[in-house]
Amino acid sequence: MPAPYLKRYNPDDDGIRFQELTWIGNRPGLEPVPDGIIGDKMMKGRAKSKVLEQLSVDDVLRDEFTLDEINDLNDYYAWNTFDVLAMRATEGASGMIPRQEYEILAFMQEFLRYPEFMQLITDKVGAEGVIEIGKSARSEIGTKINAVHDWCLSACCLMGRTGLLALESIKPGDYVDELNTILKFGQRILWGKRQDGWMLNSQDRYRCAIHEPDLVEKLAASVEEFGDDPQTGAAFKQFNASAELLSFFDHYDCRLGLGDTGPYIRPDGRVMIVRDLFVNESVYHWSDVCGDLPHCFTLVLMIDVEKMGLEEIRVNDISTSFTRPENYIPHITGGSVWVRQEWDTPMEEVYNIPISDLGDHLAQIQDATFKMYDKTSRMSRRQLITNGIYSYYIDMILPHLRKAGLYDEVCEQLDFWEIDKRISELYYEVPKRGFVQAVVPQKLFTGVGALPIPGSERTGRRSKYSFL
């Protein structure tokens, strides 16, 4: 009997709720919006423009958004941020890494600095080239040009805008041109990856099955079936968990180290998820403890969704898979592991490791985790927040800069690794008056802080011209 999750792909289906919270938004008087498929439908229904519909290449090549389009994207990203992060935001203080502080500082840094880098990439490769950068993800594994990085390009800049608005450092009508740059670059990358007219997974019932068919078949063919051999399954699942933990840790407790695509529905009814785990990002100095570990392990997970009784699966816009029922691990019935040694290792040199050979790699991963913990536990608060800012601000646009051949240039000529003076000063402000613990979550995850750009249409250029 087919698993019930297939109903979710029926255009009339409203999906199921994954959380109880609702999103308020910044337009008074409108009904609160839930998460999930029904939430996406409601947000699309509210749009004043067509920017949330399936777009053509001509739509994406056009350089300038209208004001309605910018505000529709601002609203949708704000809801989408609630959808993927509201429940995660309850996790509170880390006890190890001041995550809340580094996140909002990084977001604000991105809002101020990313437009320059995005324009540089666009000037070098052209609008079509930006689309091609996004498209490159379809024929590769072990690439950070993926849902979470591509989403972050615009979503995190918008969260930075919300932070600066909350601090009253900017006004809603400031930086409109830069907003256009941020949203247009993100749109082109996301659209290029998907090639189906949508930008985001939430717009397509949380599907991110973006890999080309020949690559999907190659990965599926590599899967080892666990059958009646509990040891092989246990070894694979242990490796998955341990590598995933290190990928989070190497990225300062965030999922820029993790990248799921799927669900790929197989002929036998099982669902395949392709999971990149970036366990050794070479630009970070703290990755020295990762030694010879490769840039990325890619795991192929084959899930028996019929036995599981899968009701819904979301491969969400921050590259994480969630299911209902929640526990899919016991229903992984086959898997395989691939290695991409460096970020630019050619795809023909990406190789498969038999599950029986994972032991040494697992030991290396566990050793790196303990060493990273020891190293991190000795760092000062300043060091931890600075590294955290880097893990977001550098990493989110790193793969796009690398693909465009511009990473060295922005480092050498545009002070890529410097923290903007305005952000350096805000470092001392954000811990005060409950800003990161209470104000930021309230403004970001309810949507009330994502203020629209005022006015009815864009007239002329508009950046920021006064600091009062």
Partner: protein, 140 residues
Amino acid sequence: MPEIAEGLNPFSTDAEAEGEVLFLSSPRDVIKLIKSGTLKEYILLVRGGTTTFLAPALQSGATGVITMSGAPESHLGILSREFQIPCVMSVHLTTGSGRYVAGETDEGHFQEIVDQLQGKRVRLDVTSPGVGRIYQVGAE
């Protein structure tokens, strides 16, 4: 066995987790526990729902985890599921003074939970979707 606390359950499993509750307040506590070789005797009680704080304990096969904040979508919720380590998140006492609300809960709430759970032998029941229960073992 009396139920003494309850919280959010990131994933359902029949796996049992039983041990003495040990509150870990700092990375130093975590390192000390790992080096002691007694990790599996304890159910770990931590403040936050992030994952790096408990990284070595997760890698070393912790028996069970209780957090005082966070949700199944939090990083620790995700990783506990990947490791299949029973976990009860944003726990509240059955006789206690309230529930965790991000940005609003004061320190007294957390201290009350530590005071009530630390040192007790407990069993985590994470068989129900969404809800995790903590029972005190050996109490009438």
